[in-house]
């Protein structure tokens, strides 16, 4: 293998480049990134960066270019695996014999808001800069979706002393991952801090003055005045450029247990990769740790030309909201029992264990990083 192209220059792309070099690949690496920015850390975009306490320069993920060619501000438009050609929006064609797909995804937009200013999604640095510019003193903010992104944006907006309402169509936020009781506890974090929470009601329409959003109309008929609307309603994997490539696509790039696609010289990592689990079925994760961990295995298999290693996710996710640190590890969604094993949810400092058929499968902690770290290791040892 002489040339490897890495398409996508965020965490998963950067980690792939780093792993290629770490695992001894000394050939040519070409990185193609649609954003003009060098790889940067996204988690602070909803938190310290949005709050204005962390400058953009501090977001850079690496000072090292790993002797790769970085083509930034350029999109990969299509790929022809039979010839190993990646066609770029600049007209250039990169010939490669190994391909890492790390294109991530795009946030879902609220229907009917495309022409309206004041309505935001948040994934990129440019998104965060645009949202930040709209968070003027006195602005009334409506956040649609009470998942991690929505919750963190609401928390930051409250810290900026803005008037915030969170709208969530489900009756309990985060219920699939955390269960009804802990999901309700996450909902309480919002109301504890003066955020109005509207659960179990969807959005019907957006009010506007011709160009700018002025409010959100809910399905129960209520009207929420708004100067700024932020959508945190999930993302779609960025696979459009792979249509016609012959690579199997279905809610992401389908790959085997080692992140290898139907073509051994093509691997997928990060938010875009939908890999096969050892138990069968395919899963896709949309979080930082996954984007950081998968390249280790994907690159090993790419360089080996075969799947010699299986990816084992740690399932580690964290979130900071209202000064509370939330941490999750393992497969909390599959639990049939949840037990608080330390501290108390009322104090917002506790650790809970998620079990299935009596066996620990996941951990959730609020404000107890030390015990969480210990239990996370025990869980990895027990389930690994």
């Amino acid at each position: 293998m002489r040339t490897v192209a890495v398409v996508g220059a965020s965490l998963a792309g950067l980690r792939s480049v780093e792993e290629l070099r770490k695992q001894g690949f000394d050939g040519r690496i070409v990185v193609i990134g649609e954003e003009v920015h060098a790889p940067y850390d996204r988690p602070p975009l909803t938190k310290a960066f949005l709050a204005g306490t962390l400058p953009a320069a501090e977001l850079a993920l690496s000072d090292d270019d790993f002797a790769a060619e970085w083509k930034l501000g350029v999109r990969a438009d299509r790929v022809d695996p039979s010839t190993g050609s990646v066609h770029l929006s600049s007209g250039e064609i990169v010939r490669t014999d190994g391909l890492v797909i790390a294109t991530g995804g795009r946030p879902r937009a609220l229907p009917g808001t495309a022409a309206m200013s004041g309505v935001h999604t948040l994934r990129t640095l440019d998104d965060a800069v645009a949202l930040q510019a709209d968070l003027r003193p006195g602005a009334r903010v409506v956040v649609v979706g009470a998942g991690w992104i929505g919750a963190e944006v609401a928390s930051t907006c409250r810290a900026l002393d803005l008037d915030v309402t969170v709208v969530e169509a489900a009756p309990v936020p985060m219920e699939r991952a955390l269960g009804a009781t802990l999901g309700a506890l996450c909902a309480d974090l919002h109301t504890d801090h003066g955020v109005e929470l509207r659960l179990g009601v969807g959005v019907a329409a957006f009010a506007h003055n011709g160009s700018r959003v002025t409010g959100v109309v809910l399905r129960d008929g209520s009207h929420l005045p708004a100067d700024v609307v932020v959508a945190g309603i999930g993302m779609e994997p960025a696979t459009g450029w792979l249509r016609g490539s012959g690579l199997p696509l279905d809610n992401g790039v389908l790959c085997d247990t080692g992140c290898v696609t139907s073509i051994p010289s093509v691997v997928a990592v990060g938010d875009v990769a939908r890999y096969r689990t050892p138990l069968g079925g395919h899963v896709r994760h949309e979080h930082w740790t996954n984007a950081s961990e998968q390249p280790v295995v994907a690159v090993r298999n790419l360089l080996a030309g075969a799947t010699i290693e299986t990816f084992r996710p740690s399932g580690y996710v964290w979130s900071d909201q209202y000064g509370v640190r939330l941490q999750i590890a393992g497969e909390t969604a599959g639990a049939d029992e949840i037990a608080v094993i330390d501290g108390s949810p009322d104090d917002r400092k506790f650790v809970a264990e998620f079990r299935r058929s009596g066996q620990p499968v996941g951990i959730f902690a609020m404000n107890n990083a030390k015990l969480f770290g210990r239990m996370r290791r025990q869980l990895a040892a027990a389930t690994g």
């Binding site: 850390d41 850079a60 770290g373």
Partner: protein, 105 residues
Amino acid sequence: MITACAVDDLPVGESMRISGEVAIAVFNADGEIYAIDDTCSHQDASLSEGWLEGCFVECPLHAALFDLRTGVPTCLPAKKPVRTYSVVVQDGMIYVDTRSREAVA
């Protein structure tokens, strides 16, 4: 020189945090006492809550590993070192010398 705690209060494998203008984390790594800045150089996390392995501590938030002897991170996401401090153990007490703050490049 600031007082951390009694040697007996910091068994092997344990850590403690000295709060202050700049919080300091003190570790007992297999009998050697080390002191470094408590706040991770990457993002807001307390290294005294991290996982201690040999003379390395893993940040409890993003698993960046710091060498307690030099403060230098060994992997992403941390890029910048944390400061290290000299430690004095005298009469069963652990003291941290904050004047010796050395920026490790």
